[in-house]
């Protein structure tokens, strides 16, 4: 099996799928890219068993073939070649690969392509189409709130709820929660599934504007198609927690404040907070908001006062400042509204008057137990 391909275009496609590869694998074959030639089409794939990504490009080739090539070495050499055609000559008997460039020849040993894990077939699936822009925004707004606790695997992904009116994306790690709803994206069937974090992170980098993403899904897998790029991932198994039940409905205390002002204040104050807990305290009285933090171990302390518009009882509530910063960073409006009821109940952060009418964002953050 021989083929000629432009080094730059091959590198571009491999870079898109390279993120799938784990730094350490139990199966040695997973350290390889799978090269598959049919006609003049080269399909390159990378897999970690849970997620498989593949892309296609045109090559000059006379016969079909299949080979697994060590990913790390291949990427390294491609990065260090200037853009020009390179020739791959593969001995399918002993899996030796020879790459010839203008500079010289490089030899490396591959593996049989047959060893590469099989990609699940799209069977009994439903599908929907969504613009890449919407998908990208949904991932960016929600994914940061997903958890990483191995003991709660369902929370490690983003919960997608589809129905004929809207699509809702929910992510939570039990301390913070984001609910992002699109009114302009719809699905014929009402269903729900949990997408794992890793493939969403990979997709985020592949989504270009003005393209459309086709999502197909069945009981076990989800398939994404963006142009020539394919991604298949196993869905997270299990039942997503009933998130609607934990979003407090009645929140009499309502704070409206400039987002940038609050964000910068929290950022400054949190520098002086405990490095493990990142705890900051918000004290609301009248129309003033006091933000303070303290690290008793080092006698560090910070205190700031902001003016805000506040309707409700005076109260004091403590939060992990990192959660606040992440959330405020992910809201686009000039002002935010923070709704609260009690120092031991969730605080809800909302954009004030969203210009985008086809989306709803709700962010929720749990406080710390302050006596």
């Amino acid at each position: 099996m021989n083929f000629i391909v432009s080094s730059a275009s091959l590198l571009k496609q491999l870079s898109l799928i390279n993120g799938v590869l784990n730094s350490s694998n139990t199966l040695p074959i997973l350290d390889n890219f799978l090269f598959e030639i049919k006609g003049s089409q080269l399909k390159v794939s990378a897999s970690d068993l849970e997620t498989t990504m593949s892309s296609r490009l045109s090559v000059e080739s006379k016969q079909d073939g299949l080979i697994a090539i060590p990913a790390k070495m291949l990427i390294e050499i491609l990065k260090n070649l200037s853009d020009h055609p390179i020739k791959f000559s593969v001995d399918e008997g002993n899996f030796q690969i020879e790459i010839s460039s203008d500079y010289g020849k490089y030899k490396l040993s591959g593996h049989s392509g047959e060893e590469f894990p099989k990609v699940p077939e799209i069977e009994q699936s439903s599908s929907l189409k969504i613009t890449s822009e919407v998908l990208s925004r949904a991932i960016n707004k929600s994914l940061f709130a997903a958890g990483s606790d191995e003991l709660r695997p369902v929370m490690s992904g983003v919960f997608c709820e589809l129905n004929s009116d809207n699509i809702t994306f929910v992510a939570t790690d039990a301390h913070k929660l984001v609910k992002y709803q699109r009114l302009d994206a719809k699905s014929e069937n009402s269903t729900s599934f949990i997408l794992p974090s890793k493939p969403l992170n990979l997709l985020k980098n592949c989504l270009s504007s003005n393209s459309e993403t086709k999502i197909e899904y069945n009981q076990n897998n989800a398939f994404f198609t963006i142009g020539e790029l394919h991604l298949v991932c196993r869905l997270v198994e299990g039942k997503y927690p009933n998130y609607e039940a934990v979003i407090p409905k009645e929140n009499p205390n309502k704070l409206t404040i400039d987002r940038g002002l609050l964000l910068n204040s929290v950022k400054r104050v949190s520098i002086f907070a405990n490095k493990t807990t990142h705890q900051v305290n918000l004290k609301l009285a009248g129309s003033s908001l006091n933000i303070s933090a303290e690290d008793l171990d080092f006698a560090n302390k910070a205190d700031e006062k902001l003016t805000c518009s506040y309707a409700g009882e005076d109260m004091e509530i403590g939060f992990n400042s990192r959660f606040l910063i992440e959330m405020l960073n992910n809201i686009d409006t000039e002002e935010v509204i923070i709704e609260m009821s009690d120092p031991s109940r969730a605080g809800i952060i909302l954009p004030s008057d969203s210009e985008a009418t086809d989306e709803n964002i709700l962010m929720l953050v749990m406080p710390v137990m302050v006596n």
Partner: protein
């Protein structure tokens, strides 16, 4: 480098002195503090008792054999803390920098003070002030570093004061037994005695390298201390790294339901202490000692918490893994480490508002009416009421 001036204050048989203060009839008698039960140990004893050979840490039964007329007193930790705090206040008022190393011991850094008062004059007056205001005997040693000051205090005791002139540190230590040097314990001293090293002067005559070869890393430190060299600073405040409690049973037991009830009570007590001090723990450990003194501990990391329900679950899990031998247990203990300041991050799904409010209410009652005013029924054990509070805090 300027010479430092470090004073070490140590209350003489502190617990017994407090008991004498409350009950003057005990004066001049052989008194020992500690539980009267069979397995009780002497936590402190009067100088009269010491003449009979009674020592702290000795089993009460042995102490009774040595000294038949020994008067045993149960002891009251709260009372001792109360007096200890009074003394701390007096010291804090007068000195620039002090370190409280235990309930009855202080180091005071008086470096630079000699220009104003004369350090000896000052410490002498401070000692009398403490004696006059509390009625408790206290001794001190004054020198250029912590080690020599501490040894000097022990030499000056009881009710004495001792100053080691600058430059006299080595000669002062030379004639003393090696056991007088801090951190030379039973094993090290046994090893050294085997080699014929009985007095500090022998260590002083040895080269540092030889000592280091013999005792490893700690050897050099020991050699320096024996030569009166100690650069450790007086650290005004040291953060507690863990809290723990343990309990020795009067009779060895395999009663698992009783054991888990005791564990629950201990966990609850420590957790409420965490919350009161606004701290969180990230590591829990359980310790058991079998009747044959085999001691096993098991620990696990958790995410930062101070909540009973998480800690109790973890402690029970550890105990289940640890106690597999169906052997009689002599002692169990619980320890929380990796402590940080902060408050518990409430969980969106696992914690209900009612539960958080329950914690708050319980903590409020325990703060107002005393620790243990309200607790889980499962942690109450009819066979055992209180834990040995002498072990409840470790640095």
């Amino acid at each position: 480098m300027i010479n430092r001036a470090i004073a070490h204050f140590d209350l003489d048989s502190f617990f017994v002195s407090v008991e004498l203060l409350k009950n003057s009839r005990l004066k001049g008698k052989a008194v020992a503090l500690g539980s009267k039960e069979d397995r009780g140990v002497v936590t402190s004893c009067s100088y009269e008792a010491r003449t009979f050979g009674v020592r702290s840490g000795m089993p009460m039964r042995l102490a009774r054999q040595l000294c038949p007329e020994l008067i045993q007193v149960r002891g009251d930790m709260d009372q001792y803390s109360y007096y200890s705090n009074i003394i701390t206040e007096i010291v804090a008022e007068d000195v620039p920098k002090y370190e409280k190393t235990s309930i009855d011991e202080f180091f005071i850094d008086l470096t630079g003070m000699d220009r104003f008062f004369g350090t000896y004059q000052f410490t002498h007056e401070l000692r009398h002030k403490i004696i006059n205001e509390t009625g408790l005997p206290i001794s001190f040693g004054l020198s250029v570093n912590k080690t020599v000051a501490k040894v000097a205090t022990n030499e000056g005791k009881p009710n004495g004061e001792k100053r080691i002139e600058i430059g006299m540190e080595r000669p002062f230590l030379a004639p003393l037994s090696i056991r007088k040097i801090p951190y030379i314990g039973k094993q090290t001293s046994a090893l050294l005695k085997q080699m014929g090293v009985e007095y500090v002067k022998t260590i002083q005559a040895m080269p540092a390298e030889a000592f280091q070869q013999l005792l490893g890393k700690s050897g050099l430190g020991l050699w320096k201390r024996a030569n009166g060299i100690d650069n450790s600073p007086v650290a005004p405040y040291s953060e507690r790294k863990s809290i723990s409690t343990e309990q020795t049973f009067h009779q060895d037991t395999i009663d698992v339901s009783m054991l888990s009830s005791v564990l629950l009570g201990m966990t609850e007590k420590l957790a409420s202490q965490l919350r009161r001090e606004q701290k969180l723990t990230a590591c829990i450990a359980v310790k058991i000692r079998y009747s044959n003194f085999d001691t096993h501990t098991k620990q696990m990391r958790i995410s930062y918490t101070s909540c009973d329900h998480i800690l109790i679950k973890g402690v029970k899990e550890l105990f289940k893994k640890l106690y597999s031998r169906r052997m009689l247990i002599r002692l169990i203990g619980v320890k929380f480490s990796y402590l940080v300041h902060g408050n518990y991050q409430i969980d969106l799904f696992d914690d209900s508002v009612d539960m958080i409010n329950l914690y708050k209410a319980m903590d409020k009652m325990n703060t107002r009416f005393g620790d243990g005013s309200i607790k889980r029924a499962a942690g109450l054990n009819p066979r055992k009421k209180s834990f040995n509070s002498f072990n409840s805090q470790q640095d």
